[in-house]
Protein backbone atom coordinates (compact mmCIF):
# COMPACT_ATOMS: atom_id res chain seq x y z
CA UNK A 1 0.00 0.00 0.00
CA UNK A 2 2.66 2.46 1.14
CA UNK A 3 4.90 1.17 -1.63
CA UNK A 4 2.20 1.81 -4.24
CA UNK A 5 1.62 5.30 -2.90
CA UNK A 6 5.29 6.12 -3.39
CA UNK A 7 5.23 4.71 -6.91
CA UNK A 8 2.15 6.80 -7.63
CA UNK A 9 3.75 9.99 -6.35
CA UNK A 10 6.82 9.22 -8.43
CA UNK A 11 4.76 8.78 -11.62
CA UNK A 12 2.57 11.73 -10.72
CA UNK A 13 5.56 14.04 -10.32
CA UNK A 14 6.55 13.45 -13.94
CA UNK A 15 2.96 13.81 -15.20
CA UNK A 16 2.52 17.03 -13.26
CA UNK A 17 5.80 18.47 -14.52
CA UNK A 18 4.81 17.65 -18.09
CA UNK A 19 1.25 18.95 -17.79
CA UNK A 20 2.26 22.24 -16.15
CA UNK A 21 3.77 23.16 -19.52
CA UNK A 22 0.39 22.73 -21.23
CA UNK A 23 -1.33 24.71 -18.51
CA UNK A 24 1.12 27.61 -18.69
CA UNK A 25 0.74 28.10 -22.44
CA UNK A 26 -3.00 27.52 -22.39
CA UNK A 27 -3.38 29.99 -19.55
CA UNK A 28 -1.46 32.70 -21.39
CA UNK A 29 -2.47 32.13 -25.01
CA UNK A 30 -5.67 30.11 -24.75
CA UNK A 31 -4.09 27.67 -27.19
CA UNK A 32 -3.28 24.02 -26.66
CA UNK A 33 0.28 23.33 -27.75
CA UNK A 34 0.17 19.84 -29.25
CA UNK A 35 3.91 19.99 -29.98
CA UNK A 36 4.64 19.78 -26.24
CA UNK A 37 5.03 16.00 -26.40
CA UNK A 38 7.56 16.32 -29.24
CA UNK A 39 9.70 18.67 -27.13
CA UNK A 40 9.45 16.06 -24.37
CA UNK A 41 10.84 13.32 -26.63
CA UNK A 42 13.50 15.43 -28.34
CA UNK A 43 14.83 16.61 -24.96
CA UNK A 44 15.22 13.04 -23.77
CA UNK A 45 17.27 12.31 -26.88
CA UNK A 46 19.44 15.37 -26.38
CA UNK A 47 20.15 14.31 -22.81
CA UNK A 48 20.95 10.81 -24.00
CA UNK A 49 23.36 12.18 -26.59
CA UNK A 50 25.15 14.23 -23.91
CA UNK A 51 25.45 11.29 -21.55
CA UNK A 52 26.14 8.44 -23.96
CA UNK A 53 28.29 10.20 -26.55
CA UNK A 54 29.61 13.24 -24.72
CA UNK A 55 30.24 11.35 -21.46
CA UNK A 56 28.83 14.31 -19.55
CA UNK A 57 27.32 13.47 -16.16
CA UNK A 58 23.54 13.72 -16.14
CA UNK A 59 23.55 16.38 -13.44
CA UNK A 60 25.52 18.67 -15.74
CA UNK A 61 23.53 17.74 -18.84
CA UNK A 62 20.12 18.38 -17.31
CA UNK A 63 20.38 22.19 -17.03
CA UNK A 64 21.81 22.41 -20.53
CA UNK A 65 18.95 20.31 -21.91
CA UNK A 66 16.45 22.49 -20.06
CA UNK A 67 17.76 25.58 -21.79
CA UNK A 68 17.88 23.78 -25.13
CA UNK A 69 14.27 22.66 -24.73
CA UNK A 70 13.28 26.19 -23.80
CA UNK A 71 14.92 27.51 -26.95
CA UNK A 72 13.03 24.91 -29.01
CA UNK A 73 9.91 26.31 -27.36
CA UNK A 74 10.76 29.85 -28.37
CA UNK A 75 11.35 28.62 -31.91
CA UNK A 76 7.99 26.86 -31.88
CA UNK A 77 6.23 30.02 -30.79
CA UNK A 78 8.01 32.05 -33.45
CA UNK A 79 7.23 29.67 -36.29
CA UNK A 80 3.91 28.07 -35.43
CA UNK A 81 2.02 30.44 -33.13
CA UNK A 82 3.07 34.06 -33.53
CA UNK A 83 2.14 34.33 -37.23
CA UNK A 84 -1.39 33.18 -36.41
CA UNK A 85 -1.98 35.68 -33.64
CA UNK A 86 -4.96 37.90 -34.26
CA UNK A 87 -6.44 35.60 -36.84
CA UNK A 88 -10.09 34.90 -36.15
CA UNK A 89 -9.70 31.12 -36.28
CA UNK A 90 -6.51 31.13 -34.22
CA UNK A 91 -7.90 28.52 -31.84
CA UNK A 92 -8.23 25.78 -34.39
CA UNK A 93 -5.39 26.90 -36.65
CA UNK A 94 -3.11 27.03 -33.60
CA UNK A 95 -3.94 23.40 -32.84
CA UNK A 96 -3.20 22.46 -36.43
CA UNK A 97 0.06 24.40 -36.67
CA UNK A 98 1.27 22.91 -33.39
CA UNK A 99 0.52 19.45 -34.80
CA UNK A 100 2.54 20.41 -37.87
CA UNK A 101 5.43 21.50 -35.67
CA UNK A 102 5.18 18.25 -33.69
CA UNK A 103 5.31 16.25 -36.92
CA UNK A 104 8.41 18.12 -38.08
CA UNK A 105 10.19 17.62 -34.75
CA UNK A 106 9.30 13.95 -34.77
CA UNK A 107 10.58 13.53 -38.33
CA UNK A 108 13.87 15.16 -37.33
CA UNK A 109 14.18 12.89 -34.29
CA UNK A 110 13.43 9.82 -36.42
CA UNK A 111 16.02 10.83 -39.00
CA UNK A 112 18.76 11.51 -36.44
CA UNK A 113 18.13 8.82 -33.83
CA UNK A 114 16.09 6.15 -35.63
CA UNK A 115 12.85 4.52 -34.55
CA UNK A 116 14.23 2.12 -31.94
CA UNK A 117 14.17 2.39 -28.18
CA UNK A 118 17.54 3.52 -26.80
CA UNK A 119 18.91 3.25 -23.29
CA UNK A 120 21.27 5.19 -21.07
CA UNK A 121 24.64 3.47 -20.53
CA UNK A 122 24.91 1.40 -17.38
CA UNK A 123 26.03 3.33 -14.34
CA UNK A 124 24.73 6.72 -15.51
CA UNK A 125 22.84 7.14 -12.29
CA UNK A 126 22.96 5.45 -8.89
CA UNK A 127 20.21 2.90 -8.43
CA UNK A 128 20.69 2.07 -4.80
CA UNK A 129 17.50 0.86 -3.11
CA UNK A 130 16.64 2.52 0.19
CA UNK A 131 14.30 1.20 2.86
CA UNK A 132 11.79 3.74 4.03
CA UNK A 133 8.88 2.97 6.37
CA UNK A 134 8.75 -0.59 5.11
CA UNK A 135 8.80 0.34 1.44
CA UNK A 136 11.64 0.12 -1.07
CA UNK A 137 12.50 3.36 -2.83
CA UNK A 138 15.42 3.84 -5.14
CA UNK A 139 17.62 6.87 -4.77
CA UNK A 140 16.80 7.58 -8.39
CA UNK A 141 13.08 7.77 -7.70
CA UNK A 142 13.64 10.17 -4.83
CA UNK A 143 15.91 12.33 -6.97
CA UNK A 144 13.32 12.49 -9.73
CA UNK A 145 10.55 13.43 -7.32
CA UNK A 146 12.85 16.03 -5.79
CA UNK A 147 13.83 17.61 -9.11
CA UNK A 148 10.19 17.76 -10.26
CA UNK A 149 9.01 19.38 -7.07
CA UNK A 150 11.85 21.92 -7.11
CA UNK A 151 11.13 22.86 -10.72
CA UNK A 152 7.40 23.24 -10.10
CA UNK A 153 8.00 25.25 -6.94
CA UNK A 154 10.43 27.38 -8.92
CA UNK A 155 7.81 28.08 -11.54
CA UNK A 156 5.22 28.98 -8.92
CA UNK A 157 7.63 31.36 -7.20
CA UNK A 158 8.58 32.91 -10.51
CA UNK A 159 4.95 33.51 -11.39
CA UNK A 160 4.13 34.87 -7.98
CA UNK A 161 7.12 36.96 -7.03
CA UNK A 162 9.01 38.20 -10.06
CA UNK A 163 8.39 40.96 -12.56
CA UNK A 164 8.21 38.46 -15.42
CA UNK A 165 5.76 36.35 -13.43
CA UNK A 166 3.48 39.31 -12.87
CA UNK A 167 3.66 40.15 -16.55
CA UNK A 168 2.79 36.58 -17.52
CA UNK A 169 -0.22 36.64 -15.21
CA UNK A 170 -1.29 39.99 -16.60
CA UNK A 171 -1.14 38.72 -20.18
CA UNK A 172 -3.06 35.60 -19.15
CA UNK A 173 -5.75 37.83 -17.70
CA UNK A 174 -6.05 40.08 -20.72
CA UNK A 175 -3.41 40.58 -23.42
CA UNK A 176 -5.06 43.85 -24.42
CA UNK A 177 -5.02 45.38 -20.97
CA UNK A 178 -1.44 44.17 -20.51
CA UNK A 179 -0.39 45.92 -23.70
CA UNK A 180 -2.03 49.14 -22.59
CA UNK A 181 -0.07 48.90 -19.36
CA UNK A 182 3.12 48.87 -21.38
CA UNK A 183 3.92 45.18 -21.22
CA UNK A 184 5.72 43.76 -24.25
CA UNK A 185 3.17 41.00 -24.85
CA UNK A 186 5.15 39.19 -27.55
CA UNK A 187 8.17 38.95 -25.27
CA UNK A 188 6.08 37.66 -22.39
CA UNK A 189 4.51 35.00 -24.61
CA UNK A 190 7.95 33.93 -25.85
CA UNK A 191 9.08 33.59 -22.23
CA UNK A 192 6.01 31.52 -21.40
CA UNK A 193 6.91 29.14 -24.20
CA UNK A 194 10.49 29.00 -22.96
CA UNK A 195 9.37 28.05 -19.47
CA UNK A 196 6.72 25.62 -20.68
CA UNK A 197 9.08 23.79 -23.00
CA UNK A 198 11.93 23.76 -20.49
CA UNK A 199 9.66 22.01 -17.99
CA UNK A 200 8.35 19.65 -20.68
CA UNK A 201 11.95 18.90 -21.63
CA UNK A 202 12.87 18.23 -18.01
CA UNK A 203 9.92 15.86 -17.78
CA UNK A 204 11.18 14.09 -20.90
CA UNK A 205 14.67 13.61 -19.49
CA UNK A 206 13.32 12.40 -16.13
CA UNK A 207 10.89 10.04 -17.86
CA UNK A 208 13.66 8.65 -20.06
CA UNK A 209 15.87 8.13 -17.02
CA UNK A 210 13.09 6.70 -14.85
CA UNK A 211 12.13 3.97 -17.31
CA UNK A 212 15.54 3.91 -19.00
CA UNK A 213 13.97 4.05 -22.42
CA UNK A 214 14.06 6.82 -25.01
CA UNK A 215 12.26 6.64 -28.36
CA UNK A 216 10.79 9.13 -30.85
CA UNK A 217 7.24 8.12 -29.96
CA UNK A 218 7.71 8.23 -26.18
CA UNK A 219 5.71 11.46 -26.08
CA UNK A 220 2.55 9.80 -27.38
CA UNK A 221 1.42 8.01 -24.25
CA UNK A 222 2.51 10.86 -22.01
CA UNK A 223 0.55 13.28 -24.17
CA UNK A 224 -2.71 11.52 -23.35
CA UNK A 225 -1.84 11.62 -19.65
CA UNK A 226 -0.89 15.26 -19.79
CA UNK A 227 -4.17 16.11 -21.49
CA UNK A 228 -6.13 14.15 -18.89
CA UNK A 229 -4.24 16.04 -16.20
CA UNK A 230 -5.03 19.52 -17.53
CA UNK A 231 -8.67 18.58 -18.06
CA UNK A 232 -8.90 17.26 -14.51
CA UNK A 233 -7.02 20.23 -13.08
CA UNK A 234 -8.86 22.78 -15.16
CA UNK A 235 -7.52 24.16 -18.45
CA UNK A 236 -4.89 26.80 -17.83
CA UNK A 237 -4.66 26.31 -14.08
CA UNK A 238 -1.11 25.54 -12.97
CA UNK A 239 -2.01 24.61 -9.41
CA UNK A 240 -4.75 22.40 -10.85
CA UNK A 241 -2.25 20.68 -13.14
CA UNK A 242 0.09 19.94 -10.24
CA UNK A 243 -2.66 18.47 -8.05
CA UNK A 244 -4.20 16.53 -10.94
CA UNK A 245 -0.81 15.21 -12.02
CA UNK A 246 -0.17 13.59 -8.66
CA UNK A 247 -3.78 12.40 -8.51
CA UNK A 248 -3.53 10.72 -11.90
CA UNK A 249 -0.24 9.07 -10.98
CA UNK A 250 -1.77 7.61 -7.83
CA UNK A 251 -5.01 6.50 -9.51
CA UNK A 252 -3.04 4.86 -12.29
CA UNK A 253 -0.77 2.91 -9.96
CA UNK A 254 -3.66 1.66 -7.84
CA UNK A 255 -5.67 0.71 -10.92
CA UNK A 256 -2.78 -1.32 -12.25
CA UNK A 257 -2.48 -3.09 -8.91
CA UNK A 258 -6.20 -3.83 -8.75
CA UNK A 259 -7.06 -4.55 -12.38
CA UNK A 260 -3.83 -5.33 -14.20
CA UNK A 261 -1.46 -3.34 -16.37
CA UNK A 262 -3.54 -3.44 -19.56
CA UNK A 263 -5.85 -0.93 -17.90
CA UNK A 264 -3.06 1.59 -17.34
CA UNK A 265 -3.90 3.82 -20.29
CA UNK A 266 -7.63 3.40 -20.02
CA UNK A 267 -7.42 5.27 -16.71
CA UNK A 268 -6.39 8.53 -18.33
CA UNK A 269 -9.16 8.37 -20.87
CA UNK A 270 -11.69 7.37 -18.23
CA UNK A 271 -10.70 10.34 -16.07
CA UNK A 272 -10.68 12.66 -19.07
CA UNK A 273 -14.09 11.67 -20.34
CA UNK A 274 -15.66 11.58 -16.91
CA UNK A 275 -14.49 15.11 -16.10
CA UNK A 276 -15.76 16.37 -19.46
CA UNK A 277 -19.14 14.83 -18.71
CA UNK A 278 -19.50 15.97 -15.13
CA UNK A 279 -17.42 19.08 -14.61
CA UNK A 280 -15.76 20.38 -17.79
CA UNK A 281 -14.10 23.24 -15.93
CA UNK A 282 -12.06 20.72 -13.93
CA UNK A 283 -10.95 21.08 -10.34
CA UNK A 284 -9.62 24.63 -10.41
CA UNK A 285 -10.50 25.87 -13.88
CA UNK A 286 -12.24 29.06 -14.83
CA UNK A 287 -15.71 28.84 -16.26
CA UNK A 288 -15.12 29.77 -19.92
CA UNK A 289 -16.15 26.44 -21.34
CA UNK A 290 -18.31 27.44 -24.25
CA UNK A 291 -16.91 29.14 -27.30
CA UNK A 292 -17.48 32.83 -26.68
Amino acid sequence: MWQQAINGVFLGAIYALFAVGYALVFGVLDILNLAHQAVFAVSAFIALAFVAEGHVPLAVALPVVLVAAGLVGIGLERVAFRPLRGRSDSNISGLISSLAAATILEAVALQIWGPDVQRFPIGTFPDKPLRMLGATVSALQLTIIGISVVLMAGLTTLLRATRLGRQIRAVAESPRAARILGIDVDRVIAWSFFLSSALGGAAGVLFGVAFNSVSPDMGRSVELKGLAVIILGGMGSIAGAVIAGFALGLVEVFTVVQLGSSWRDAVSFGVLFFVLLVRPSGLLGRAAIREA
Partner: protein
Protein backbone atom coordinates in the same frame (compact mmCIF):
# COMPACT_ATOMS: atom_id res chain seq x y z
CA UNK B 1 -7.58 -2.38 -68.44
CA UNK B 2 -5.29 0.21 -70.01
CA UNK B 3 -1.61 -0.04 -69.11
CA UNK B 4 -1.58 3.22 -67.21
CA UNK B 5 -4.34 2.10 -64.89
CA UNK B 6 -2.66 -1.22 -64.28
CA UNK B 7 0.69 0.36 -63.44
CA UNK B 8 -0.76 2.88 -61.04
CA UNK B 9 -3.61 0.80 -59.67
CA UNK B 10 -2.46 0.76 -56.07
CA UNK B 11 -1.55 4.44 -56.12
CA UNK B 12 -5.01 5.25 -57.48
CA UNK B 13 -6.62 3.08 -54.84
CA UNK B 14 -4.76 4.89 -52.06
CA UNK B 15 -5.58 8.30 -53.50
CA UNK B 16 -9.23 7.31 -53.36
CA UNK B 17 -9.01 5.92 -49.85
CA UNK B 18 -7.09 8.89 -48.54
CA UNK B 19 -9.61 11.14 -50.24
CA UNK B 20 -12.41 9.42 -48.33
CA UNK B 21 -10.49 9.77 -45.07
CA UNK B 22 -9.79 13.43 -45.76
CA UNK B 23 -13.50 13.99 -46.36
CA UNK B 24 -14.31 12.29 -43.08
CA UNK B 25 -12.17 14.90 -41.31
CA UNK B 26 -13.64 17.65 -43.47
CA UNK B 27 -17.08 16.84 -42.06
CA UNK B 28 -16.05 18.17 -38.66
CA UNK B 29 -13.66 20.83 -39.95
CA UNK B 30 -16.38 22.45 -42.02
CA UNK B 31 -18.20 23.43 -38.85
CA UNK B 32 -15.02 24.68 -37.23
CA UNK B 33 -14.24 21.60 -35.12
CA UNK B 34 -11.01 19.64 -34.99
CA UNK B 35 -11.48 15.91 -34.47
CA UNK B 36 -8.63 13.42 -34.21
CA UNK B 37 -10.93 10.43 -33.65
CA UNK B 38 -11.24 9.33 -37.24
CA UNK B 39 -8.35 6.87 -37.17
CA UNK B 40 -10.19 5.19 -34.29
CA UNK B 41 -13.47 5.15 -36.23
CA UNK B 42 -11.61 3.76 -39.20
CA UNK B 43 -10.19 0.99 -37.01
CA UNK B 44 -13.64 0.08 -35.69
CA UNK B 45 -14.98 -0.05 -39.24
CA UNK B 46 -12.06 -2.08 -40.55
CA UNK B 47 -12.22 -4.66 -37.74
CA UNK B 48 -16.00 -4.94 -37.98
CA UNK B 49 -15.90 -5.48 -41.72
CA UNK B 50 -12.98 -7.89 -41.60
CA UNK B 51 -14.50 -10.00 -38.82
CA UNK B 52 -17.78 -10.19 -40.74
CA UNK B 53 -16.28 -11.36 -44.03
CA UNK B 54 -13.55 -13.50 -42.52
CA UNK B 55 -15.31 -15.24 -39.63
CA UNK B 56 -18.99 -14.97 -40.52
CA UNK B 57 -18.57 -15.15 -44.31
CA UNK B 58 -20.99 -12.28 -44.64
CA UNK B 59 -21.51 -10.69 -48.06
CA UNK B 60 -19.29 -7.68 -48.70
CA UNK B 61 -22.08 -5.08 -48.95
CA UNK B 62 -23.24 -6.09 -45.49
CA UNK B 63 -19.68 -5.71 -44.17
CA UNK B 64 -19.48 -2.23 -45.72
CA UNK B 65 -22.78 -1.23 -44.17
CA UNK B 66 -21.89 -2.54 -40.72
CA UNK B 67 -18.43 -1.03 -40.92
CA UNK B 68 -19.94 2.40 -41.54
CA UNK B 69 -22.79 2.08 -39.04
CA UNK B 70 -20.91 0.89 -35.98
CA UNK B 71 -18.45 3.82 -35.81
CA UNK B 72 -21.39 6.16 -36.34
CA UNK B 73 -23.14 4.61 -33.35
CA UNK B 74 -20.00 4.99 -31.23
CA UNK B 75 -19.63 8.60 -32.33
CA UNK B 76 -22.95 9.68 -30.83
CA UNK B 77 -22.13 9.17 -27.12
CA UNK B 78 -18.58 10.44 -27.69
CA UNK B 79 -19.64 13.56 -29.55
CA UNK B 80 -22.74 14.58 -27.63
CA UNK B 81 -21.15 15.66 -24.34
CA UNK B 82 -17.98 17.05 -25.86
CA UNK B 83 -19.42 19.06 -28.74
CA UNK B 84 -21.37 21.24 -26.34
CA UNK B 85 -18.02 22.58 -25.15
CA UNK B 86 -15.28 24.65 -26.75
CA UNK B 87 -13.47 23.25 -29.78
CA UNK B 88 -10.30 22.41 -27.88
CA UNK B 89 -12.19 19.88 -25.75
CA UNK B 90 -13.18 17.91 -28.84
CA UNK B 91 -9.55 17.77 -29.94
CA UNK B 92 -8.50 16.48 -26.51
CA UNK B 93 -11.31 13.95 -26.12
CA UNK B 94 -10.74 12.58 -29.61
CA UNK B 95 -6.99 12.19 -29.07
CA UNK B 96 -7.88 10.13 -26.00
CA UNK B 97 -10.53 8.16 -27.84
CA UNK B 98 -8.17 7.23 -30.67
CA UNK B 99 -5.57 5.99 -28.21
CA UNK B 100 -8.15 3.93 -26.30
CA UNK B 101 -9.45 2.27 -29.47
CA UNK B 102 -5.92 1.36 -30.52
CA UNK B 103 -5.07 -0.04 -27.09
CA UNK B 104 -8.32 -2.00 -26.90
CA UNK B 105 -7.46 -3.80 -30.12
CA UNK B 106 -3.91 -4.39 -28.89
CA UNK B 107 -5.28 -6.04 -25.72
CA UNK B 108 -8.11 -7.97 -27.35
CA UNK B 109 -7.02 -11.56 -27.95
CA UNK B 110 -10.01 -12.37 -30.21
CA UNK B 111 -8.56 -10.05 -32.85
CA UNK B 112 -4.99 -11.32 -32.37
CA UNK B 113 -3.81 -8.40 -30.26
CA UNK B 114 -1.04 -6.27 -31.66
CA UNK B 115 -0.59 -8.57 -34.67
CA UNK B 116 -4.12 -7.96 -35.91
CA UNK B 117 -6.07 -9.88 -38.51
CA UNK B 118 -4.37 -11.26 -41.59
CA UNK B 119 -5.46 -13.03 -44.77
CA UNK B 120 -8.65 -11.01 -45.07
CA UNK B 121 -10.35 -11.94 -48.36
CA UNK B 122 -9.72 -9.45 -51.13
CA UNK B 123 -13.08 -7.93 -51.98
CA UNK B 124 -12.31 -4.32 -52.75
CA UNK B 125 -11.90 -3.26 -56.35
CA UNK B 126 -10.61 0.08 -57.49
CA UNK B 127 -13.98 1.10 -58.85
CA UNK B 128 -15.68 0.57 -55.49
CA UNK B 129 -13.33 3.04 -53.82
CA UNK B 130 -13.94 5.65 -56.47
CA UNK B 131 -17.69 5.10 -56.48
CA UNK B 132 -17.74 5.56 -52.71
CA UNK B 133 -15.62 8.69 -53.04
CA UNK B 134 -17.87 10.09 -55.75
CA UNK B 135 -20.97 9.37 -53.68
CA UNK B 136 -19.57 11.09 -50.59
CA UNK B 137 -18.42 14.06 -52.66
CA UNK B 138 -21.82 14.30 -54.30
CA UNK B 139 -23.55 14.32 -50.93
CA UNK B 140 -21.25 16.99 -49.52
CA UNK B 141 -21.59 19.06 -52.70
CA UNK B 142 -25.37 18.96 -52.37
CA UNK B 143 -25.00 20.29 -48.85
CA UNK B 144 -23.55 23.51 -50.23
CA UNK B 145 -26.14 26.19 -50.61
CA UNK B 146 -28.73 24.16 -48.74
CA UNK B 147 -30.22 25.24 -45.45
CA UNK B 148 -27.93 22.86 -43.56
CA UNK B 149 -24.94 24.03 -45.56
CA UNK B 150 -25.55 27.65 -44.61
CA UNK B 151 -26.07 26.62 -40.99
CA UNK B 152 -22.70 24.83 -40.97
CA UNK B 153 -20.97 27.83 -42.49
CA UNK B 154 -22.54 30.10 -39.91
CA UNK B 155 -21.37 27.82 -37.08
CA UNK B 156 -17.89 27.76 -38.53
CA UNK B 157 -17.66 31.54 -38.82
CA UNK B 158 -19.15 32.45 -35.44
CA UNK B 159 -20.86 29.86 -33.31
CA UNK B 160 -22.29 32.27 -30.76
CA UNK B 161 -23.87 34.36 -33.50
CA UNK B 162 -25.20 31.24 -35.22
CA UNK B 163 -26.83 30.11 -32.01
CA UNK B 164 -28.39 33.52 -31.54
CA UNK B 165 -29.93 33.11 -34.98
CA UNK B 166 -31.65 29.98 -33.72
CA UNK B 167 -29.33 27.44 -35.33
CA UNK B 168 -29.09 24.36 -33.07
CA UNK B 169 -25.31 24.28 -33.31
CA UNK B 170 -24.71 21.25 -31.10
CA UNK B 171 -27.04 19.08 -33.14
CA UNK B 172 -25.38 20.12 -36.38
CA UNK B 173 -21.91 19.49 -34.99
CA UNK B 174 -22.88 16.06 -33.67
CA UNK B 175 -24.51 15.15 -36.99
CA UNK B 176 -21.37 16.05 -38.93
CA UNK B 177 -19.16 14.24 -36.40
CA UNK B 178 -21.28 11.09 -36.83
CA UNK B 179 -21.22 11.42 -40.61
CA UNK B 180 -17.44 11.72 -40.51
CA UNK B 181 -17.24 8.59 -38.37
CA UNK B 182 -19.34 6.65 -40.87
CA UNK B 183 -17.18 7.75 -43.79
CA UNK B 184 -13.99 6.84 -41.91
CA UNK B 185 -15.46 3.43 -41.04
CA UNK B 186 -16.40 2.81 -44.67
CA UNK B 187 -12.88 3.70 -45.77
CA UNK B 188 -11.59 1.31 -43.12
CA UNK B 189 -13.59 -1.63 -44.51
CA UNK B 190 -12.49 -0.84 -48.05
CA UNK B 191 -8.85 -0.60 -47.05
CA UNK B 192 -8.92 -3.82 -45.00
CA UNK B 193 -10.26 -5.76 -48.00
CA UNK B 194 -7.66 -4.21 -50.27
CA UNK B 195 -4.52 -4.79 -48.20
CA UNK B 196 -5.67 -8.15 -46.68
CA UNK B 197 -4.77 -7.07 -43.16
CA UNK B 198 -5.68 -4.88 -40.22
CA UNK B 199 -3.52 -4.21 -37.18
CA UNK B 200 -3.83 -1.69 -34.35
CA UNK B 201 -0.56 -0.04 -35.31
CA UNK B 202 -2.08 1.16 -38.56
CA UNK B 203 -4.68 3.27 -36.79
CA UNK B 204 -2.59 5.26 -34.34
CA UNK B 205 -2.27 8.97 -33.77
CA UNK B 206 -0.11 9.52 -36.84
CA UNK B 207 -2.88 8.12 -39.02
CA UNK B 208 -5.32 10.64 -37.57
CA UNK B 209 -2.84 13.43 -38.22
CA UNK B 210 -2.32 12.23 -41.80
CA UNK B 211 -6.03 12.58 -42.53
CA UNK B 212 -6.11 16.03 -41.01
CA UNK B 213 -3.10 17.07 -43.08
CA UNK B 214 -4.82 15.95 -46.30
CA UNK B 215 -7.95 17.93 -45.49
CA UNK B 216 -6.24 21.12 -44.33
CA UNK B 217 -3.60 21.17 -47.06
CA UNK B 218 -6.22 20.60 -49.72
CA UNK B 219 -8.56 23.19 -48.29
CA UNK B 220 -11.23 22.67 -45.68
CA UNK B 221 -13.74 25.25 -46.83
CA UNK B 222 -14.93 23.43 -49.94
CA UNK B 223 -15.84 19.79 -50.51
CA UNK B 224 -13.30 19.00 -53.24
CA UNK B 225 -10.39 20.54 -51.31
CA UNK B 226 -9.69 17.52 -49.06
CA UNK B 227 -9.67 15.18 -52.07
CA UNK B 228 -7.18 17.42 -53.86
CA UNK B 229 -5.02 17.47 -50.73
CA UNK B 230 -5.16 13.69 -50.40
CA UNK B 231 -4.17 13.22 -54.04
CA UNK B 232 -1.32 15.74 -53.77
CA UNK B 233 0.11 14.31 -50.55
CA UNK B 234 -0.26 10.68 -51.65
CA UNK B 235 1.61 11.24 -54.89
CA UNK B 236 4.28 13.60 -53.54
CA UNK B 237 6.24 11.14 -51.34
CA UNK B 238 6.31 8.64 -54.19
CA UNK B 239 7.60 11.30 -56.54
CA UNK B 240 10.25 12.49 -54.08
CA UNK B 241 11.43 9.09 -52.93
CA UNK B 242 14.36 9.11 -55.35
CA UNK B 243 15.47 12.58 -54.31
CA UNK B 244 15.22 11.61 -50.64
CA UNK B 245 17.38 8.57 -51.17
CA UNK B 246 19.99 10.68 -52.92
CA UNK B 247 20.09 12.94 -49.85
CA UNK B 248 20.36 9.97 -47.50
CA UNK B 249 16.88 10.42 -45.99
CA UNK B 250 14.81 7.39 -45.09
CA UNK B 251 11.32 7.33 -46.65
CA UNK B 252 9.54 7.33 -43.28
CA UNK B 253 11.04 10.51 -41.82
CA UNK B 254 10.97 12.15 -45.25
CA UNK B 255 7.22 11.62 -45.63
CA UNK B 256 6.64 12.77 -42.06
CA UNK B 257 8.75 15.87 -42.56
CA UNK B 258 7.02 16.76 -45.83
CA UNK B 259 3.61 16.38 -44.21
CA UNK B 260 4.59 18.62 -41.32
CA UNK B 261 6.34 21.26 -43.39
CA UNK B 262 3.59 21.48 -46.01
CA UNK B 263 0.90 21.60 -43.32
CA UNK B 264 2.70 24.42 -41.57
CA UNK B 265 3.24 26.36 -44.79
CA UNK B 266 -0.40 25.99 -45.78
CA UNK B 267 -1.81 27.00 -42.41
CA UNK B 268 0.43 30.08 -42.35
CA UNK B 269 0.22 31.27 -45.92
CA UNK B 270 -2.78 29.59 -47.57
CA UNK B 271 -5.43 29.15 -44.88
CA UNK B 272 -7.96 27.95 -47.46
CA UNK B 273 -5.70 25.24 -48.82
CA UNK B 274 -4.03 24.57 -52.14
CA UNK B 275 -7.33 24.73 -54.01
CA UNK B 276 -7.37 28.44 -53.21
CA UNK B 277 -3.92 28.91 -54.75
CA UNK B 278 -5.16 30.15 -58.17
CA UNK B 279 -7.47 32.64 -56.48
CA UNK B 280 -4.75 33.85 -54.13
CA UNK B 281 -2.28 34.28 -56.98
CA UNK B 282 -4.84 36.15 -59.05
CA UNK B 283 -5.58 38.48 -56.16
CA UNK B 284 -1.87 39.06 -55.65
CA UNK B 285 -1.34 39.83 -59.32
CA UNK B 286 -4.30 42.20 -59.37
CA UNK B 287 -3.03 44.04 -56.34
CA UNK B 288 0.40 44.39 -57.88
CA UNK B 289 -1.06 45.54 -61.17
CA UNK B 290 -3.25 48.14 -59.53
CA UNK B 291 -0.34 49.40 -57.49
CA UNK B 292 1.72 49.71 -60.66
CA UNK B 293 -1.12 51.51 -62.44
CA UNK B 294 -1.47 53.98 -59.59
CA UNK B 295 2.30 54.51 -59.74
Amino acid sequence: MPGFLLAYQSLLAFIGLNGLLALSVYCTLCCGQLSLANAGFMAIGAYTGALLTQNAHAPFPLALLAGALLPALVAVPLGLPVLRLRGVFLAIATIGFGEVVRLSFVNWSYTNGALGLVAIPRKTDLWMIWVALAAVMFGLARLRGSRAGYALEAIREDEAAARTMGIPSTQYKVAMFVLGAAIAGLAGVLEAHLTYMVSPGGYGFSRAVDMLVYAVVGGDTIFYGPVAGAAFLTVLPEALRGAGRALGLAPGPLRLFLNGAILLAVILFLPNGIVSLPRTLRALRLRRASRAALG
